[in-house]
Each structure stands twice: as C-alpha cells, then as structure tokens.
C-alpha cells in the first residue's frame, strides 16, 4: 500500500507549473494541484504501478463565492488493489473557469464533468461531449453558483413558485 508521502512525491515530481499543496484537514487527505498540471498528475496516478488509482469515485464542483472569486473541482480517487484513497483538488478563477477533462482516463468522468459544467459552468477542455445534463439545454445560468439568481420565466412558465 503506497503511503501518502510517496504519492505526494510522485505528484511533486510530475508537477511542472506550480508545486502541489497538501490539505491535511480533508478526509481523505487532499493534494491541491494547478489546473495546468492536473492532466499529467492524473495520468501519472492512473498509470503508475505504485499508485494505480483505477477508480475515480466522485468529481465535485465547488463554488467559493464572489468574495473568494474561485471555484474548485475535487476528484476522489480510489485504488481497488491497494485500498488507498486520495483527493485531488484544482482551484480556478470564477471568471474563466477551465479545467482539463479527465474523461480520457476514466470514462466515469464524462457524465460527472457534464454535471459540473451544467451546475457551475466550468469548462472541461478536451471533453468529448460537453452538454448540459440535468437542466434543460436552454436554461440560463448555472444553478449551483453562489451568486445564482434564476430567470423570471422559462418559456413563459414562472420559475419562482
């Protein structure tokens, strides 16, 4: 079973843009990487025989609101053979949120990233089919953003009830 420290070293060696930061308060322990490094780090964690994170459990979008002006994407990785958990986090700006898509590595990322795009408007570059998934195609705005206000009418139906 790879220790967290060895995973961290692997991530540190892979990051070329910004050194990763450890978030100890998270459970499982989290590593915060830059969006530019994410794809390389994920690729490394997915393929490396020491880590072998073969399962992407959950992809979560988080909006920190206008004061912080950042959005986050958290990836919960799990390795079935080693029984290790890891949380990867990426922080992006709210104005032009762009994160590389991991759907090329884990197929499960496809729909989960579509959901985040739907709810937060985070663009996943390289995603094969980035459409809204839960809300209607012509819905305005991204409902889970902290400053979201819904439109008055959707096709002449009053939205507020």
């Amino acid at each position: 079973m790879p220790a967290f420290e060895s995973i961290l070293t692997l991530v540190q060696n892979t990051c070329t843009h910004t050194p990763p930061v450890v978030d100890d308060s998270a459970s499982p322990k989290a590593i915060v990487v830059a969006a530019e490094d994410l794809l390389a780090v994920a690729q490394q964690l997915f393929t490396s025989p020491e880590t072998y994170f073969d399962m992407l459990s959950c992809v979560t979008g988080i909006d920190n609101g206008p004061p912080a002006n950042t959005m986050e994407v958290a990836y919960n990785l799990y390795s079935i053979p080693f029984h290790t958990h890891l949380m990867l986090k990426v922080k992006v700006s709210r104005e032009k949120p762009e994160v590389p898509s991991l759907s090329g590595l884990w197929k499960t990322a496809n729909w989960q990233e579509r959901e985040i795009f739907d709810m937060y408007g985070i663009h996943f570059t390289g995603h094969p089919d980035l459409r809204r998934i839960l809300m209607p195609e012509d819905w305005e705005g991204h409902p889970l953003r902290k400053d979201y206000t819904h439109q008055g009418y959707y096709r002449d139906i009053k939205v507020a009830y």
Binding site: S27, S57, I62, K107, W111, Q112, R132, I133
Partner: protein, 406 residues
C-alpha cells in the same frame, strides 16, 4: 397560487425546442432512424429518455437524456441544516431510503468525530433496517426486470413479499417509503416491541419464497435466453466507468464496500459477497446481474438473522436506552472537506461535504449517485445490439431516476 391563473402559453415551436437531439436527423443514412424511448415509458423505470439511433432493428448508438426528475437536492442541502437534509436524502433513492440515510448520517457523524461513539444497539438497528430495505429494493429490481422482459408472475410475488418489509419499516418509523428514521447520532425511535421476533418470522417466511423465485425466474428457459450473453459488461470497462454495486460484482470483482470499508458493524457480521460467474453465459451479462441480486438477498437474510440474535441477546432493549442520546443539539462540524461512501443496493453512494466550521449548513453537499454513474455506461454496452436487448439492459442496470436526477 390560484388555479385559474394560466401559467403556460403554448408556442408552436415548443415541441421542437424541447427536444435537444444529439443525433442530427439530416445526417441519417438510408435505413437509419432516430427513435425516442421514453421519458414516459414503463420499461425505462421512471422518466428516462433514450434517443436511439437505429438501423432497422439494430441499435447503433444510444444517447440518454436525463434530468426530468431533477429536484435540486444539492441546492437544498446547501440551504438547510445537516439534520434537515435527511428527508431529502430519503427521496434520492426512494426504494432504499434507509440505506441512503445510513450513508448520510455516517458522513455527518464522521465530520463531527462521533462516528465511533454511536451505541452498538443503534448501529445494529441501522444495519437491520438498511438490510431489510436492501431486500425490498432488490425485490423491485428483480420484479420489474422480470416484467420488462415478459415474466409477469414474479413481479406480483415479489411485490407481495416486499409489502411485508414495508409494513415492518412503517411500524418502526411511521412511513412506508420515506422514513427519516436514521438520525445523525442515533435513531428517531428504538424499534417497536416485537420487531425482532417479526423479523425472524419474515426470514423463515421468505426463504422458501426465494427458492420459488429461483425456479420460476432465474432457471426459467425464456428468462435465461433473454438475459444470458446480453449486455455483457467487461470488468475493465466497469472499473474504468466507475460502476459499483451488483453491476460491478456481476462483472466478476468481489468488491462490496460493506466488506472493503467495513463501516458500521459490518465487520462483526458474517456474510459473503456474491459475484457473477457466467453460469448461463458470459461473466457480466444481464443474467449474472440478476443472479447476483438474488444471492445478495440471501446474504442480507444472513445479516438480518445475526442482527436479530444481537438485538435480542447482547444488545437487547433496556428501559433506559435512549436512541437519541447522542443526537447533537447543534451540528457544527469543523472546517473540512470529507468524502464518505457506503454500499446501497445500487452501488456506491457517496457524499462530498464541505463545512466551514461557523455554520450548521454545509457549504457544499455533493451526492455521488450510483445510478447516475451506472447509467452512464449504457451507451458503451449497447452498441450493435437489438432494440429488445436494450430494454433488457436498462432493466438490469437497476436505475432509480430519483437518484439519477437528484
């Protein structure tokens, strides 16, 4: 709102605007056509719409359209205190509410750091009601699946037997389907007097019925021919696609979070994790998925028996036992991100929490729903099959749209 107030004005182009087609009708080659399956169709198990690109009877591609039952669970969870979210959690997977509640309560307890202080009796009661609900959920899955592909009788038999479980859970919690029974730090009430005995009666009642089910459905030649070698999900694709629950186990991996994570009192209980063995066809086909569910019912019965023994012996009810003793007055976890997962009948239900430490409302509460992820593999395993097999595959995935759309 007054009922005479007309909200909706019809537009001539509404019908076309409301269908976001993925496939372009202008690009179709000869013999190809687009068929819409659902959203209102009994075999789609709720409001699931499938846009199917077909060539004659052969399915070329499938594009699922979901969201018809979106009830903004995550938005609600960001606006309500932790304990008030539990009724919303019930409504995610509305045929297995106890299991979802258990997962959610466990997550909040872990954030508060009281996970290991929960009294053993409370944990055994939780496991007991959750396993009862697991059996009820599998009954629905198997029954409706049989009905999808033409076996009507098992559906009625299983609904009849499921009613015994629902009445027991109603006796305990007061509600048939949406219980709000498992609270953060405890339970709503202790079990009613006589519940354990009735549970034992149910176990002795249901075992011969399951043998009947085996002969009438699983070994039935028509059922085998409709399901064996259909919708084969290879293990590598299953893991890569994040598939969990009976679907993953049917593909041949002995992976059950009750065993792997060993949460609650599951490490103290003796049960097996059944996997698909390809008895009737290939490993990971629709027959295997159904068979795994049936075997899991047997395992749940084993767990129930052990719970009854524990709850009438070692952890039997006492006069001074208060299941709400540990329920916190103020639920204010310290600032943290936490991911918790648990095995519900459909697979891995996960919750991602972010608490800020100043508030008893979550900053973020994401529900990683297993039906949603399991459904996302459908386009991959339904290329080049017959349309009748597509129905067989949807049923074997066992989606509950309440959980897919949240």
């Amino acid at each position: 709102m007054p009922t005479d107030h007309i909200q909706y004005k019809s537009h001539p182009d509404n019908l076309t605007r409301s269908v976001p087609y993925k496939f372009d009708a202008a690009q179709l080659r000869s013999e190809e056509m687009i068929v819409n399956l659902g959203p209102q169709h009994p075999s789609t198990h709720g409001v699931l719409r499938l846009e199917v690109l077909m060539e004659g009877e052969i399915v070329r591609e499938v594009a699922p359209h979901i969201g018809y039952l979106h009830r903004c669970f995550e938005k609600h969870a960001e606006n309500l205190p932790f304990n008030q979210v539990i009724p919303f959690v019930d409504r995610l997977d509305y045929v297995a509410s106890m299991n979802s509640e258990h997962a959610y309560a466990m997550g909040v307890e872990r954030m508060l750091g009281i996970e290991h202080q929960i009294p053993k009796r409370v944990e055994y009661v939780r496991v007991m009601v959750a396993e009862l609900n697991r059996i009820a959920s599998h009954f629905i899955a198997i029954g409706t699946y049989g009905m999808d592909i033409g076996a009507f009788t098992p559906f009625f038999w299983l609904m009849r037997d499921r009613e015994h479980i629902l009445r027991m859970l109603e006796w305990a919690s007061g509600a048939r389907l949406l219980y709000n029974y498992i609270w953060i730090g405890g339970l709503f009430y202790d079990l009613p007097i006589g519940f354990e005995e009735r549970c034992q009666q149910f176990i002795t009642y249901i075992r011969p019925k399951l043998a009947e089910l085996d002969t009438v459905l699983l070994q039935n030649k028509i059922f085998v021919q409709r399901t064996a070698n259909v919708g084969v999900l290879p293990l590598d694709l299953a893991i890569n696609g994040g598939i969990t629950g009976p679907m993953l186990r049917a593909s041949g991996l002995r992976f059950d979070l009750r065993r792997v994570d060993g949460y609650s009192v599951y490490p103290e209980l003796d049960f097996d994790v059944p996997i698909g063995e390809g008895k009737m066809g290939a490993v990971g086909d629709c027959w295997d998925r159904t068979s795994v569910r049936v075997q899991e019912i047997h395992e749940s019965l084993k767990i129930l028996e052990q719970c009854v023994t524990k709850l009438t012996g070692e952890h039997k009810r006492t006069r001074d036992f208060d299941p709400q003793a540990l329920v916190p007055k103020k639920i204010r976890p310290k600032a943290q991100d936490l991911y918790v997962r648990a095995e519900i009948p459909k697979g891995e239900l996960g919750f991602f929490f972010r608490a800020d430490g100043r508030n008893d409302i979550a900053l973020r509460c994401k529900c990683r729903s297993c039906s949603f992820v399991n459904l996302s593999i459908l386009p991959e395993i339904s290329k080049g099959i017959l349309i009748a097999d597509l129905i067989a595959i949807i049923g074997s995935i066992d989606v509950v749209m309440g959980e897919v759309d949240r």
